[in-house]
């Protein structure tokens, strides 16, 4: 109780709104030091750096802008070149197609010609063979006929036949008949 009363008495003397003198002084000095450091050293320091950073960022932005413009122009150039190349390619393709068509036509004509040549040569060959065969046949037939007639007649007609050309004439007649019948 007594301790409490003493405490109460002490509290009555004290008013929390009346500042103790020494604390005013300490507070002023403490704040002054903080302010001085901020004002003279720290904030100029950081402001300089912030300014540098801002400049760096703006420089970076400008650089990026320039690069963008350059990229744009390069892109357009490429696009133009690409279009030109496409055009060129189309032209070449067209040309190649035309050339190809011409070549094919030429080849076809050539082929046709060669075929005809081969056929013609074949025909000539066949004709020649046929003629050779016919003349050989004619001789053999003449010979056989003469021999047959000789056997029938009993004497050799060979020499006579050779002299008179009777067989040839007979065969020619046969030929003519065959021609007429055909």
């Amino acid at each position: 109780m007594i301790a409490n009363l003493v405490q109460l008495a002490a509290e009555e003397k004290q008013n929390p709104l009346i500042p103790p003198g020494p604390e005013l002084l300490v507070g002023t000095i403490a704040f002054a030091i903080v302010f001085f450091f901020f004002w003279k050293k720290l904030l100029p320091n950081i402001n300089k750096v912030l300014e540098e950073r801002r400049a760096a960022i703006e420089g970076g932005i400008e650089e990026a802008e320039a690069m963008k413009v350059e990229a744009q122009s390069v892109l357009e150039q490429y696009k133009a070149q690409l279009a030109e190349a496409r055009h060129e390619a189309a032209r070449l393709r067209q040309e190649a197609q035309e050339q190809g068509a011409a070549l094919i036509a030429e080849m076809r004509a050539e082929g046709q010609r060669q075929r005809e040549e081969i056929i013609a040569a074949g025909h000539a060959q066949i004709e020649a063979d046929r003629k050779a065969a016919a003349s050989a046949l004619r001789q053999d037939v003449g010979k056989l006929a003469t021999e047959l007639a000789g056997k029938l007649v009993g004497e050799s007609l060979e020499d006579h036949a050779r002299q008179s050309r009777v067989i040839d004439r007979f065969l020619d007649e046969l030929d003519q008949k065959a021609e007429a019948a055909r």
Binding site: V26, A30, F31, W39, L43, I46
Partner: protein
């Protein structure tokens, strides 16, 4: 207050009295003064570490410092005074903000556990400095007559009530305003400290037999109050600086 007979050591004004820990040159040096000086050391050394060798590409500490600096500069000074007029007052406001904030934070730091700003002398000093800046600036901007017009809110259109308004405004601006400026900070921290001490002491005091659950409740309240105080500490520092800015804005504003 403490006379309830159960011996509960209720906190009171005596919680804000400290025995001197040393006497330097006739001045009794106590815990709060020590904390005030440590506040200076903490603020200066933190920002020296952050901004002393500032780099264009910031480190972690510098980034935190910049965030705080930017908050005061852009969030308070530029908002109220504008970039052009405000730039000059940025160092003042930045030091005010961090000085007050750290003074408040001591409230929840173990061992310190006392908000320096709950001793009226410290808010009073700061409010007085703001007041001096404001008065000086008003004189400088508006001259002697302009000063009185500015301070008394002189406005012809008020007609008959003008004398009354002038008297009220004069007292309000010159006397009441610096007082409330200081007391707002002081009272908030004072009350916050009382609450914290109350619940902390109660958690300990109630820690016997059947009261233990109550002690638990009290302990939880202590934690809640610590969270709340952390919030109040920042808000009060912000409000103090915001008001300082708005007073200065009044001095800079053209008289209407």
């Amino acid at each position: 207050m403490s006379d309830n007979g159960c011996g509960f050591p209720a906190p009171g004004l005596h919680s804000f009295l400290f025995k001197p820990i040393a006497t330097v040159g006739g001045i009794e040096f106590n815990k709060v003064m020590l904390l005030a000086i440590i506040t200076t050391a903490v603020v200066v050394s933190f920002f020296y570490a952050a901004f002393g060798k500032a780099k264009v590409v910031p480190g972690k500490l510098q980034m935190i410092g910049e965030a705080g600096y930017d908050f005061v500069r852009r969030g308070i000074v530029y908002e109220t005074l504008g970039k052009k007029e405000g730039e000059k007052y940025v160092p003042f406001m930045v030091s005010l903000f961090f000085f007050i904030w750290v003074m408040n934070i001591w409230s929840v730091i173990p061992l310190a556990q006392f908000p320096v700003s709950s001793i009226i002398a410290y808010p009073m000093v700061l409010a007085a400095i703001v007041w001096l800046v404001w008065v000086g600036l008003t004189f400088k901007r508006h001259g002697f007559v302009g000063f009185f017009k500015n301070v008394t809110g002189y406005d012809k259109s008020l007609g008959a009530v003008l004398p009354l308004v002038m008297i009220i405004e004069f007292f309000s601006n010159l006397l009441v305003r610096p007082f409330t400026h200081a007391v707002r900070l002081f009272a908030n921290m004072f009350a916050g400290h009382l609450m914290l001490v109350m619940f902390t002491v109660a958690s300990w005091y109630l820690l016997n037999s059947w009261m233990i659950p109550a002690a638990g409740v009290s302990f939880v309240m202590t934690m809640v109050m610590i969270m709340f105080e952390l919030f109040v500490q920042a808000v009060q520092a912000y409000v103090f600086v915001l008001l300082a800015c708005s007073y200065i804005q009044g001095a800079l504003a053209e008289h209407h």
